[in-house]
C-alpha cells in the first residue's frame, strides 16, 4: 500500500475535482463536506509519505508498472514529500478559510470553485512528485489553468490582471516546453534521472545551453524571479479573498522548487546550469533589495505584500545560489517559512478587506481594535517577515547569513541587511496604523468585528506555526531539511 502513496496524493484531489461538480448539481452541502474530506485525506497521505520517507528512505513509483525511462516515474524523497505536506496543509487551511467567505457567492455553479481548488492542489502536488520533465509541464499547465479560473471568480480588476498572468504564464510554460523539447531531441529521454545521466555524457553543446536556458527562464517567470515578476503584483493585489492566501503562499514556491530540483538534481553536472545558478544568484540579490524597495512605495497592503514576495523569492534563490550547506538549508527552510507567514499575511489582508473593505495602509487605522486576534496574527507574521527573533523568519535569515559569510559573499549580507531594514519600515507602517492610531475619517467604525471562527482558525494556526517553526527549528532542520539537500552538496 505505502508505495502507492506517491501517486494517491495526486490522484485523490484530481479525482475529487472531477466528481465534485457533478455532485454539486444535487447538493451544495455535500460538496463542501466532500471537498473538505478530499483535502484532509490528501494531507494525511502526504504526512504518511513524509513519515515513510524519513524512516525508510526515498523510493520511486512507476506509473502503470511501466519502467523508466519509458514510463512516468514519481520520486519520493524528503524534499518532495516535505513540499507535498506544505502544499496539502496550506490547501486544507485556505479551503476552510474560503468556506467562511464564499458561503453566499457563486451559487450558479455550486462546487465549481471547490473543484478548481482541488485541481490546483492536484497540479501543484503533481509538480513536486513527478520525476518526468514532460509530466511536470502537464501539471504546470493544470495548476496554472485552475489558478486562472479561480482568480477570475470575482468581477473587477482581477479579470485584467489575470488575463495578463495568463498570457505571461502561457509564454513561460511554452518556453519550458520548448526547452524540454531540445533536451528530448538531444537525449531521447524525458525521465529526469535518465536525462541527467545522458546529458553528463553528452557535454555542453549549444543545444544543451539553449535547452537549459529555456527551461530555467520558463520556470523563473513562474517563480516571479526579478525582473520576470511583472505579472505578480497585479495578480496578487486583485485576487479574490478566498484564493490569494493559497496562491500567494505556495504557487511561486512550487516553481522555485522545480527550478531547484532541475538545476541541482537533474542538470547538476552541466556547466550551463552552474552559470544559470550564478545568474540567478545575482538576480536574487537585486530582487531582495528591489522587492523591498518597491514594497515600501505601496499604499495598498495587498500590493505591498505582493512586492514583498518578489523580494522574499530572492531570499530562497540566494540560498540555492550560494550553494554551501547553511545557505541551502536557509533557502529550503525559507520556502516553508515564507509560505506559512505570507499565507498568514494574505489571509489577514483578505479577511480585513472582506470584513471592512479596507485595503490601503491608511484604512488600517484602528484595525487592532476592530479585529484584535487577526491583527495579532498579522503582527507575528510581519515580525517573522522582518526576521526578528524568535520567529521562523529570523532563523532562515540566520542560516542564509551564515552561508553568505562562509562564501565570503559580502554583497549578499549587505542586501539582506538593507532588505530587513526596509521591510521593518513597511511592516511597521501597517502595525503602527493598526495598533497605535485611533479609527479616523477613513475608517469611522470602531466596534469589534472579528472574523468568523472558520476564517480566524486558519489565520491563528498559521501564526502559531510561525512561532513554532522559529522556536523548534532544530528538529525540523536536522531531521528534515538536512536530508532534503542535493546529494553532492
Amino acid at each position: 500500500m505505502t508505495p502507492h502513496l506517491a501517486v494517491l496524493v495526486v490522484v485523490i484531489p484530481l479525482a475529487s475535482s472531477l466528481v465534485i461538480p457533478l455532485v454539486g448539481i444535487f447538493s451544495r452541502r455535500v460538496v463542501q463536506t466532500l471537498a473538505l474530506l478530499a483535502h484532509v485525506v490528501t494531507l494525511v497521505l502526504a504526512l504518511g509519505m513524509l513519515g515513510r520517507v524519513l524512516t525508510e528512505g526515498s523510493w520511486s513509483y512507476h506509473l502503470g508498472g511501466w519502467m523508466p525511462p519509458w514510463g512516468i516515474e514519481y520520486v519520493v524523497d524528503p524534499l518532495s514529500a516535505g513540499m507535498a505536506v506544505l502544499i496539502s496543509g496550506m490547501a486544507l487551511l485556505t479551503m476552510v478559510y474560503a468556506a467562511g467567505c464564499l458561503d453566499k457567492g457563486n451559487s450558479r455553479h455550486p462546487g465549481l470553485s471547490e473543484a478548481l481548488f482541488l485541481l490546483l492542489t492536484a497540479g501543484l502536488l503533481g509538480i513536486v512528485m513527478t520525476g518526468d520533465m514532460f509530466n511536470l509541464y502537464v501539471f504546470l499547465e493544470i495548476s496554472s489553468i485552475a489558478a486562472y479560473a479561480l482568480l477570475t471568480s470575482e468581477e473587477g480588476p482581477s479579470l485584467v490582471a489575470t488575463f495578463r498572468y495568463l498570457l505571461v504564464g502561457t509564454i513561460a510554460a511554452s518556453l519550458y516546453l520548448l526547452g524540454t523539447g531540445y533536451l528530448y531531441a538531444l537525449t531521447g529521454t524525458l525521465n529526469m534521472a535518465d536525462l541527467g545521466v545522458r546529458l553528463s555524457e553528452a557535454g555542453d553543446s549549444m543545444a544543451v545551453v539553449a535547452g537549459v536556458s529555456l527551461v530555467v527562464i520558463g520556470l523563473a517567470v513562474k517563480a516571479a524571479v526579478f525582473p520576470l515578476h511583472g505579472w505578480l503584483p497585479d495578480t496578487y493585489t486583485y485576487a479574490p479573498v478566498a484564493v490569494v492566501g493559497f496562491i500567494g503562499a505556495v504557487m511561486t514556491k512550487v516553481s522555485a522548487y522545480a527550478l531547484f530540483r532541475i538545476l541541482f538534481f537533474v542538470l547538476d553536472a552541466q556547466a550551463v546550469s552552474g552559470a544559470a545558478v550564478t545568474w540567478l544568484g545575482w538576480l536574487a540579490v537585486v530582487a531582495i533589495v528591489a522587492g523591498s524597495w518597491m514594497a515600501l512605495a505601496q499604499t495598498d497592503v495587498r500590493r505591498m505584500l505582493a512586492y514583498s514576495s518578489v523580494g522574499q523569492m530572492g531570499f530562497i534563490l540566494i540560498g540555492f545560489s550560494l550553494g554551501n550547506v547553511p545557505a541551502m538549508v536557509g533557502g529550503l527552510f525559507h520556502i516553508l517559512n515564507h509560505a506559512v507567514m505570507k499565507g498568514c499575511l494574505f489571509l489577514v489582508a483578505g479577511g480585513v478587506r472582506w470584513r471592512t473593505g479596507a485595503t490601503t495602509v491608511n484604512a488600517y487605522a484602528g484595525m487592532g481594535r476592530r479585529l484584535p486576534l487577526s491583527m495579532a496574527a498579522f503582527l507575528v507574521a510581519a515580525l517573522s517577515m522582518i526576521g526578528l527573533p524568535p520567529t521562523a523568519g529570523f532563523f532562515s535569515k540566520w542560516y542564509l547569513l551564515v552561508g553568505a559569510v562562509e562564501a565570503r559573499a559580502w554583497v549578499v549580507i549587505a542586501a539582506i541587511i538593507v532588505s530587513s531594514a526596509l521591510s521593518a519600515i513597511y511592516f511597521f507602517r501597517v502595525i503602527e496604523k493598526a495598533f497605535f492610531h485611533a479609527p479616523d475619517e477613513f475608517n469611522p467604525a470602531s466596534e469589534r468585528t472579528e472574523l468568523p471562527s472558520v476564517m480566524l482558525g486558519p489565520v491563528v494556526i498559521l501564526a502559531l506555526v510561525v512561532l513554532l517553526l522559529g522556536i523548534l527549528n532544530e528538529p525540523i532542520v536536522t531531521h528534515f531539511v538536512m536530508h532534503a539537500l542535493p546529494p553532492n552538496v
Binding site: L388, W398, V402, V405, A421, I425, F428, F436, E474
Partner: protein
C-alpha cells in the same frame, strides 16, 4: 531530593526571565481590575528581585548558575547563565523595576492615563528581555533578547499616541532595527569565525582570524551596539524618545534600553574580542576617542536644551560613554569603574527622571527655566534631584564619583592620561548644566504654588537617592555591586581562571 533542588536552583536565570513574562501574559486578564493588575506587577517585580538576588552569594563565590540550553542546529544554542557582569545588570534592572512599578502606579493614576494595561504588559516584557540579555550566555541569546527589547519598548514610546510620540516611535525603530541588523551581521561573522562559542572572560577570538577582519567585525559590532548606547552620531533617537511617559523614560531610556547597549559593549569588548585583541588592532584608542567625543559633545548639547527631560537625555548620552570609555581602556580599574557605573548611573539617573516626573505631575512644568523657587515648594523632590545631579557630576562621596575615579585611574594605567582631562571637563559641564537648575529652584522666589507629591511617587526617588549616597560612601554595601564589578573586571583582564577577589 537535593539534586532536584540543585537543578531548580541552576534554572534561576531562566526563572528570572520567565517571571516577568508570565506577569505580562497574566495582566491582560485583569484589565478591568487596576488593583489586581498592579498587584500582579508588584508581585512579579518583588519575586524577580528575590530570585535574582538569591544568586548573589553563589556568583560572588565564583559559581555560575546556568540554565539548561535550548539546542539549535550547527552547535548553536540559546543559553542563560549568571556571571558577575550579568548579575550587576540584572540586579540593577530588577531593583529599579520594583521602584518604577510603585512610581508608575502613582504617576499613571495621577495622570489618569489611558491604556494602562498595555503599558504594564509592555513594561513587564521589557524587563524580561533586559534580564534575558543580562544572563545571555552567548551572542545569539543576547541578540534574541536585544531584539525583543526593541520591540517591547516601541509600544511604550508611542504610548500617548500623539503625532510627536508616533514620529519618535518611528525614529526609534529605524535606528534600533537598523543597528540590530548590523549587529546580527557581526554576530553571524563571529559564528563563522568561532562556531558555537560562548562568552569567555578575556574573549575567544584571539588568533582566529586576520587583524583586518577583526577590525571590520569589531566596527560592525560597535556600530550596531552604538545605536542603543547612543554613541554619537547614532544618538538621534534618544532625545526624541523622551516623548514617552516619564516612568518609561526613567526605566527604559535611562536604564534598560541604553544600558543594554552599554552592557553589550562591555560584553563584546571583554567577552568576545578581549583586551589584547583590541590593543593589537588599535581599536581601544579609536573607541575611547569616540566615547570621549560623545562625552564632551553631549555635555555641550545638554547645556542648550530647555526641556528638562531632553537635558537629562543628553546627560544620559554622555554618562553612557563613560562606560564605553572604561571598557575601551581595558585595565582592571577602568573595567571595574565601567561596570560599577552601569549600576551607579542607573540609580542616579532614575532619581532625576522620577523627580522630573513628579514636577510634571504636581506643577505641570517641563522646562528648566520654569523651576524657579520650586525647591521651597517641593523640598523633597528637588533635594533628591540635587543628590542625583551632584552624583552624576562626579562629586566625591556620591555614587558617580566611584566609577569615574576608577576609569580615571584606568586611563593613567593604560598610558592615556589625556582621558582624565575628558572626565574632568565632562564633570565641569555637568555642574554647568545642573547647577543653575538647583540654585534657581532653591534661591529664587516661586511664582507657583505646589507641594511634594504623594508618598507613592516620592518614596521611590527618595529611596534611589539614598542608594546613590550609599553607593558613594560604601560602594560594596547592599548588593555588592563593587565586588561584582571587580570580579568581572579581573576575569576579563586575567582570563577565566586568573580572576578572583583581592
Amino acid at each position: 531530593m537535593s539534586s532536584v533542588m540543585d537543578q531548580l536552583l541552576d534554572q534561576r536565570p531562566l526563572i528570572a526571565v520567565m517571571i516577568s513574562l508570565v506577569a505580562a501574559i497574566t495582566m491582560p486578564l485583569f484589565s478591568r481590575h487596576p488593583n489586581w493588575r498592579e498587584g500582579c506587577t508588584l508581585l512579579a517585580a518583588t519575586l524577580k528581585l528575590f530570585v535574582v538576588a538569591s544568586m548573589l552569594s553563589a556568583v560572588l563565590a565564583g559559581e555560575t548558575p546556568s540554565s539548561a540550553s535550548i539546542l539549535l542546529p550547527q552547535g548553536l544554542s540559546l543559553h542563560l547563565r549568571a556571571d558577575p557582569l550579568g548579575l550587576v545588570f540584572a540586579l540593577t534592572a530588577a531593583t529599579l523595576w520594583v521602584m518604577t512599578s510603585l512610581y508608575s502606579i502613582g504617576y499613571m493614576r495621577a495622570k489618569e492615563a489611558p491604556r494602562q494595561t498595555g503599558y504594564y504588559v509592555a513594561f513587564a516584557l521589557c524587563l524580561s528581555a533586559t534580564t534575558g540579555l543580562a544572563f545571555a550566555g552567548n551572542l545569539l541569546t543576547f541578540f534574541v533578547f536585544y531584539e525583543v527589547l526593541t520591540l517591547s519598548t516601541y509600544p511604550l514610546v508611542v504610548h500617548t499616541r500623539t503625532a510627536e510620540a508616533r514620529s519618535a516611535g518611528r525614529r526609534y525603530l529605524v535606528y534600533t532595527i537598523g543597528g540590530g541588523q548590523l549587529l546580527l551581521a557581526a554576530i553571524v561573522w563571529t559564528q563563522v569565525v568561532a562556531p558555537g562559542a560562548e562568552f569567555v572572560p578575556g574573549g575567544f577570538l584571539a588568533g582566529r582570524t586576520s587583524d583586518v577582519a577583526m577590525a571590520v567585525g569589531f566596527a560592525a559590532f560597535m556600530l550596531g551596539l552604538g545605536v542603543k548606547t547612543a554613541l554619537m552620531p547614532l544618538h538621534g533617537w534618544l532625545p526624541a524618545a523622551m516623548a514617552a511617559p516619564t516612568p518609561v523614560s526613567a526605566l527604559l531610556h535611562a536604564v534598560a534600553v541604553v544600558k543594554a547597549g552599554a552592557f553589550g559593549v562591555v560584553r563584546v569588548t571583554g567577552f568576545v574580542f578581549g583586551v589584547d585583541v583590541l590593543r593589537a588592532i588599535n581599536a581601544d584608542v579609536v573607541l575611547a576617542v569616540a566615547a570621549s567625543v560623545t562625552i564632551v559633545v553631549a555635555s555641550i548639547r545638554a547645556l542648550g536644551e530647555r526641556n528638562l527631560k531632553r537635558r537629562l537625555a543628553y546627560s544620559t548620552i554622555g554618562q553612557l560613554s563613560y562606560i564605553v570609555l572604561g571598557s575601551a581602556l581595558g585595565t582592571v580599574a577602568a573595567l571595574t569603574g565601567a561596570i560599577f557605573h552601569i549600576a551607579a548611573h542607573a540609580f542616579m539617573k532614575i532619581t532625576l527622571f522620577f523627580c522630573a516626573g513628579a514636577i510634571h505631575v504636581q506643577v505641570q512644568r517641563d522646562n528648566v527655566d520654569e523651576l524657579d523657587g520650586l525647591g521651597k515648594q517641593m523640598p523633597v523632590t528637588l533635594g533628591a534631584f540635587m543628590i542625583g545631579a551632584c552624583g552624576l557630576a562626579g562629586i566625591p562621596l556620591l555614587a558617580g564619583f566611584v566609577g569615574k575615579w576608577q576609569i580615571g585611574v584606568g586611563a593613567v594605567e593604560a598610558g592615556y592620561p589625556v582621558f582624565v582631562v575628558v572626565l574632568v571637563v565632562s564633570g565641569l559641564f555637568n555642574i554647568a548644566y545642573f547647577f543653575p537648575i538647583i540654585s534657581d529652584a532653591f534661591l529664587k522666589s516661586s511664582p507657583v504654588v505646589g507641594t511634594d507629591a504623594r508618598p507613592v511617587i516620592t518614596a521611590p526617588f527618595v529611596f534611589s537617592a539614598g542608594i546613590a549616597i550609599m553607593l558613594g560612601l560604601f560602594p560594596d554595601a547592599g548588593f555588592h555591586f563593587y565586588s561584582l564589578a571587580r570580579l568581572a573586571a579581573s576575569t576579563i583582564v586575567m582570563g577565566p581562571n586568573g580572576g578572583g577577589l583581592p
